[in-house]
């Protein structure tokens, strides 16, 4: 492992130098630690603290804010939407990422295909929301459609739909935008893991007469399952905090609101510090188990190093 220096063992070990030796590492990490404590750690504790107080932070109310979140109809809808996001968006990004990685692995134009899928990662959510307006745009059926999806609907003589307003479709429509952006991320990581599978293994299975589907499920997936787990947890963390797509595309209206957007509105539109803080604390609580898994995994890597 890492060798450490015995500071001052060569240069004359006077008292002052020795002090500097002890202080030295702390000087190196001081700016970072200061920043993190002031802007991350203290605010986190402060928010948890405020979640037990009334909306103007003047009196202690215990768990009232949490009780409100779990009983109020609008809030429950927000939680339900977040759950829908968590399940659908995670499964879709990881699954599609895996499928594209596996398919692209077999073609000569692999790098071009992967770049095409990966490009949306470089685009901001704001940019993406403008892009997708031209897919989801809705005009009443007597006017020309400028949204691609309704253009296709019209082509097949189907009724154009208000994809972003109709509660039957809008959450799915928003999730698709997110999937479009993040599939490339999953694909890149999973693709790197695929390259690590020994080709002998696949070929031996082919010799035994296994078809592509069973090779995929019996060999590929089990071999890269640790990576799939890492990608999945990363996506869960990202999706729990989902904000931009919804904020820009629907503003949380038409029953599409999620926790992070609701939190923003409670805090900055209504000045409800109690409920806002409780929402943020709930997000943190959901993430805690994943934080624990992450640290254990990193610890394990440290031991191997």
């Amino acid at each position: 492992m890492i060798q450490t220096v015995k500071k001052g063992s060569k240069s004359s070990p006077t008292g002052g130098k020795k002090w500097l030796g002890i202080l030295n590492p702390w000087l190196w990490i001081a700016p970072a630690v200061l920043c993190i404590v002031v802007f991350l750690f203290y605010p986190m504790l402060n928010t948890i603290w405020l979640s037990f107080f009334s909306n103007d932070s003047s009196r202690f109310v215990g768990l009232t804010n949490y009780a409100y979140i779990f009983t109020n109809g609008g809030m429950l809808e927000v939680l339900r939407n977040n759950l829908l996001w968590l399940v659908l968006a995670t499964i879709l990004t990881v699954f599609l990422g895996l499928v594209v990685a596996v398919l692209a692995d077999r073609v000569r134009i692999e790098s071009i295909i992967k770049a095409m899928i990966f490009v949306p990662m470089a685009i901001s959510f704001v940019g993406a929301s403008v892009i997708w307006r031209f897919v989801y745009d809705y005009k009443t059926s007597d006017r020309g459609q400028i949204g691609l999806l309704n253009g296709i609907m019209t082509l097949f003589h189907l009724q154009p739909q208000a994809w972003l307003i109709d509660p039957r479709f809008n959450n799915i429509a928003l999730i698709i935008v997110y999937v479009w952006m993040w599939t490339g991320f999953c694909m890149v990581i999973l693709s790197a893991a695929l390259k690590g599978i020994p080709t002998e293994l696949i070929e031996a299975a082919k010799m035994d007469g296994a078809n592509d589907i069973s090779i995929f499920f019996r060999i590929t997936v089990p071999m890269i399952s640790p990576t799939i787990a890492v990608v999945t947890t990363t996506m869960i963390i990202n999706i729990l905090k989902i904000f931009d797509v919804i904020y820009v595309m629907t503003g949380g209206d038409y029953q599409t609101n999620v926790v992070a957007v609701e939190y923003y509105q409670q805090l900055f539109n209504f000045n409800n510090f109690g409920i806002g803080s409780a929402l943020a604390t709930l997000l943190l609580l959901t993430i805690l188990p994943i934080m624990y898994i992450n640290i254990r995994q990193i610890r394990a890597q440290e031991v191997q190093r």
Binding site: I2, S11, N24, P25, W28, P31, V33, C35, I36, F39, P43, M44, L50, V100, L103, A104, V107, R108, I109, I112, I113, M116, I117, V119, M121, A122, I123, S124, F125, V126, G127, S129, V130, F134, I146, L148, W180, V188, A192, T199, E200, N211, I213, V230, T233, T234, I237, K241, F243, D244, A260, L267, F268, G276, A280, L284, N294, Q297, I298, R299
Partner: protein, 315 residues
């Protein structure tokens, strides 16, 4: 016994593996003709499927690009796909209009003013800390490092209101300084984690020989560690730059009240809300905001991917 055991067996495995590959290839060649579908997907089918997926993924962006080149009246009356049938009407008016009239030029400049220090600052601060975590020994080093890694995934939302009140107390809300500090703090856990791993993987012989030569930590850091870590610093730099450039939430909260300092994302988000259907401004503005990230992405893709692979626990 058990220590010697794996070796011969692995040799045996490679020995048998080599001829088996040829056998498989011969076998496959004869079988694809007869039962290509039964055996799974043939290579040309896979190629076609992947091309279709790639095109499907590119259509939305392509649609915006075409729209941004069409006259304002047409954008709102007909689909962008009709632009491919005569009469062809393309124009760059939208771009000229948006740069001059909507203050997008200033917003582009603001984005740069925010993103460059917002990237350099955390990279520098993180490099110092990561070096100490990797190469110095001090009490509490490990738990401090794990504490920082744990903060990697906290939702930044939880910090926004208290940080805003800190900024208001010291009177920097709505200034660039507030956004720089916020981006530095939010970027640090990931940056420290990434750089600590890179620095830690440098061979320890380097360090020992530098120490024997009497080099101090700062000389070792600046003369040896930093030059050797340029690729990792590059991937971190790109990552952080993209993140800051594309960020909406941080600027919304800390710059929301001062539109003259708003970056592109915030300006465009406001355009979306206020203009609603003023598509000719939106299309060109959105495309302008994508230009720099796309250029960086295509020219430095290698480093970007490397950063993703090294830090895939980022939250």
């Amino acid at each position: 016994m058990s220590t010697i055991d794996p070796k011969p067996s692995s040799i045996a495995a490679t020995k048998t593996a080599r001829p088996s590959r040829e056998v498989v290839q011969v076998k496959e060649r004869s079988s694809t003709v007869r039962s290509g579908i039964l055996r799974g997907l043939s290579n040309s089918t896979v190629t076609i499927i992947t091309i279709l997926i790639g095109l499907l993924w590119s259509v939305p962006t392509f649609g915006l690009f075409i729209s941004s080149l069409r006259p304002a009246s047409l954008i709102q009356s007909s689909g962008w796909w009709t632009a491919f049938t005569p009469p062809w009407q393309f124009t760059i008016d939208n771009y000229q209009q948006v740069i001059q009239a909507q203050g997008l030029g200033q917003a582009f400049l603001n984005s740069l003013i925010i993103a460059i220090p917002g990237t350099l600052l955390p990279t520098l601060v993180a490099a110092f800390a990561a070096y100490a975590f990797a190469w110095m020994k001090f009490p509490g080093r490990d738990w401090l490092f794990f504490g920082i890694v744990a903060l990697l995934i906290i939702p930044i939302q939880i910090t926004l209101a208290p940080v805003l009140s800190i900024f208001t107390t010291i009177g920097i809300t709505g200034s660039y300084l507030a956004v720089w500090l916020a981006h530095t703090a939010y970027g640090l856990p990931f940056a420290i984690y990434l750089l600590r791993n890179f620095f830690g993987s440098l061979p320890s012989d380097l360090f020992e020989s530098a120490h024997i030569d009497g080099a101090s930590h700062s000389r070792f850091f600046f003369n040896i560690v930093l030059p050797l870590s340029v690729p990792s610093l590059a991937s971190l730099f790109i990552f952080q730059f993209m993140w800051v450039w594309n960020d909406l939430l941080v600027s919304l909260i800390f710059l929301g009240g001062s539109p003259q300092r708003a970056p592109l994302t915030l300006t465009i988000a406001n355009l979306v809300n206020s203009f609603g259907s003023n598509y000719e401004v939106l299309t060109s503005a959105a495309f302008i905001s994508m230009v720099l990230p796309l250029v960086i992405f295509f020219s430095l893709q290698r480093y970007f991917v490397r950063g993703i692979l090294a830090g895939s626990v980022k939250g």
